[in-house]
């Protein structure tokens, strides 16, 4: 992993000093809330329903053991002993005091963590493929480029006050594990016929009130020009994006109103006038960043592990865990181990300080000191020897982290919703808990197979409901919580926006409706079809019939 040098460390120290000064001025009454709010937001500090919330950036979802232990310690010392991992691979602490915030940021800076640009109308924390460096289908490690963008976008003087927030995701595989089509900019690395690395550049995707899938505006961007091309995109947006209506200020609206072709033309024109050498990183700096992600000492191992094979044959729980949560690695004899934060009946994405410590220990001992956060609100150990999978599994069982439900119906994305969020219209967490309890039987969940449920407590869509196989959107009807279901969304290679099923349902009708949808799928499905495949073939009608028939 990339390690901060003195310059990176001094950047964080200077930022903490600045924020300490700003907090001091606010607490002393030298600043009003109107003046202070944009400053605290740029340091990731929100005011939510019950307290302040600190959103800590986890750049491209990569953490080492020391960082994870620090997150555990901070959540114990300054919060209530847990944190919430989000769909943006950030960690949110929900019970923070303003007066503690500078001290917390000081502690985080000690391990190279921060909350910079996790809010505000700026370039937000980067996300990347959680399988980076471990998957056989990648053409390069996308984190190299994500780190280059992280540095370039940090305190960018021109792009700190954009029309609206701005999110960038990077992947390097044909398979999209980063939801790049729903990002403001999605970048996919690929090699051309001559073997040269290029980016496919997608601009103008996004969820929220007006969801869009991002069109490709350039198929082949030579990688060395990444930053100058990003500057051109951001400059066109900063100058021409709408600022008169907050709901139409995202770049997706600019791209949609100009059309992708015209938007691309404007970007190319701007780029043609750009002094690229002044913006793009020199080869020496790219090599320095690349060295930070160099593979660290993989052993030559046989592709099969006798230890692992005999253990899974003897232990059905391990066998199930291996089936659901363990994935092949690009190096023989290694595996990626998914850690579900979706224990049945718990809050999706929540992780206690004790659990963070356990994962830190496992990362250090078994995964080359690396852990990842996925946008599906789970954790992942990227480099585990197959020989060690039984020991890792046993430790996860002890910590309540061995739920074998990755990509199953109980692996639900849910935003904090009305239990915490000042913007929410309805709760998301209890809905997720209700549904997960109905599919608590792991055999039943495996029978149903891959089914991605995504729940948002408001139209801002932090819970990605538009791209759930089943999406659930909380709405407010005269002070009461209602939920609108949609079917057929996907955030992956077959990205699609879901179609609304019918009128919104009351809270107690949601989980039974999921049961009904699953029954239709089990009845209608053909050999090998996932829920979404059956939906695409059979259409909305049978599902709608099942949920709404009894209302007549």
């Amino acid at each position: 992993m990339y390690r901060y040098d003195d310059i990176d460390r001094e950047m964080l120290a200077d930022r903490v000093a600045e924020f300490r000064d700003q907090c001091g001025r606010r607490l002393a009454g030298e600043m009003t809330e109107d003046q202070f709010k944009p400053l605290r937001l740029m340091n990731g500090l929100y005011l939510q329903l019950h307290a302040y919330m600190l959103r800590i950036a986890i750049p491209y979802g990569s953490l080492n053991a020391a960082q994870l232990r620090k997150l555990a310690q901070v959540s114990r010392t300054y919060d209530r002993g847990y944190g919430h991992f989000t769909t943006r691979t950030n960690l949110q602490l929900h019970w923070i005091k303003l007066k503690d915030a500078p001290d917390i940021l000081d502690e985080l800076a000690g391990v190279g963590l921060h909350a910079i640009q996790t809010s505000g109308n700026c370039i937000r924390n980067l996300t990347a493929d959680p399988h980076a460096g471990a998957t056989a289908d990648e053409v390069d490690d996308p984190r190299i480029w994500a780190e280059a963008i992280r540095q370039w976008s940090t305190f960018h003087p021109e792009f700190s006050f954009l029309p609206r927030k701005f999110k960038i995701a990077v992947t390097a595989s044909p398979k999209d594990r980063g939801a790049i089509r729903v990002y403001d900019i999605g970048l996919r690395l690929h090699r051309d016929d001559e073997g040269a690395l290029n980016f496919e550049v997608l601009v103008g995707g996004g969820l929220g009130r007006l969801p869009h899938l991002g069109p490709v505006i350039r198929e082949r961007l030579p990688v060395r020009h990444l930053l100058s091309y990003l500057q051109a995109i951001l400059r066109v947006y900063n100058r021409h994006g709408r600022r008169d209506n907050i709901h139409k200020a995202r770049i997706k609206i600019l791209v949609a109103s100009l059309g992708a072709t015209e938007f691309a033309r404007q970007v190319e024109e701007e780029w043609s006038l750009t002094d690229k050498e002044a913006v793009d990183l020199p080869a020496t700096e790219l090599a320095r960043i690349r060295a930070g992600f160099a593979p660290a000492g993989f052993e030559t191992l046989p592709p099969l592990s006798a230890t692992f094979e005999s253990a899974r044959a003897a232990d059905p729980a391990l066998a199930r865990f291996a089936r659901r949560n363990v994935l092949p690695h690009k190096h023989p004899g290694y595996a990626l181990v998914n850690i579900s934060l979706k224990s049945i009946g718990e809050t999706p994405g929540d992780c206690s300080a004790e659990q963070m410590d356990v994962v830190a220990d496992l990362a250090e001992r078994y995964s080359m000191n690396e852990a990842r956060v996925t946008y599906e609100q789970n954790l992942l150990l990227p480099h585990v020897k197959l020989d060690d999978v039984p020991a890792v599994h046993a430790a996860l069982v002890d910590a309540g982290l061995a739920t074998a439900n990755i990509a199953l119906i109980s692996d639900i994305i849910a935003c904090p919703g009305l239990d915490y969020c000042a913007l929410a219209n309805a709760r998301a967490i209890p809905i997720a808990q209700d549904i997960a309890r109905r599919f608590a039987d792991p055999a039943l969940a495996e029978t149903v197979g891959e089914l991605k449920i995504k729940i948002s407590g408001c139209i801002n869509a932090c819970g990605h409901h538009h791209v759930g196989h089943i999406g659930i959107l909380g709405v407010d009807k005269k002070g009461e919580e209602f939920y609108q279901l949609s079917l057929g969304g996907s955030a992956e290679d077959d990205a699609a926006l879901g179609q609304v099923l019918g009128p919104a349902l009351s809270a107690d009708r949601v989980a039974p409706a999921i049961d009904q949808l699953v029954e239709v799928y089990l009845r209608e499905r053909r050999e090998g079809e996932r829920f979404i495949d059956t939906f695409r073939r059979a259409g909305l009608a049978p599902f709608k019939e099942a949920v709404y028939a009894q209302a007549h």
């Binding site: 607490l27 005011l47 329903l49 005091k97 007066k99 709760r427 967490i429 002070g479």
Partner: protein, 119 residues
């Protein structure tokens, strides 16, 4: 009927205006029958920007055994998150919390009709 709420500047805690001070408990909130009196209190609260953030008026209405905020959101603020009963004001318990918890039920049943009608 209205009450005045805000979050405390230093720690973000949900607080209610008692008529003289800010309290963490909804039961101690001053209840305003007259809208001009309520608005006067709100204006005064906005001037206390070194104590509280974003003060605003909320609708309250009688429920079984007492008063409760009409909106679900405000009851969550007055109690705590429903997914963690050991966090927030509800962790302390008390009669006033029991009244608010009862109003949660009311909002999902016919009791809600009374709340909305009064609003």
């Amino acid at each position: 009927m209205k009450a005045l709420t805000a979050n405390r500047l230093t720690d973000g805690e949900v607080v209610f205006w008692t008529g003289a001070d800010w309290s963490e408990r909804f039961i101690q909130a001053a209840v305003f029958e007259e809208s001009d009196v309520a608005e006067g209190a709100e204006a005064h609260a906005k001037s206390q920007f070194t104590l509280v953030v974003d003060p605003y008026l909320i609708e309250v209405a009688p429920v079984g055994g007492g008063l409760a905020p009409v909106s679900y959101r405000e009851r969550v603020r007055a109690m705590g998150p429903t997914n963690k009963p050991d966090h927030g004001k509800q962790a302390v318990g008390g009669d006033d919390i029991a009244v608010l918890a009862g109003a949660h039920g009311a909002a999902r049943s016919k009791g809600r009709v009374d709340l909305i009608r009064r609003k």
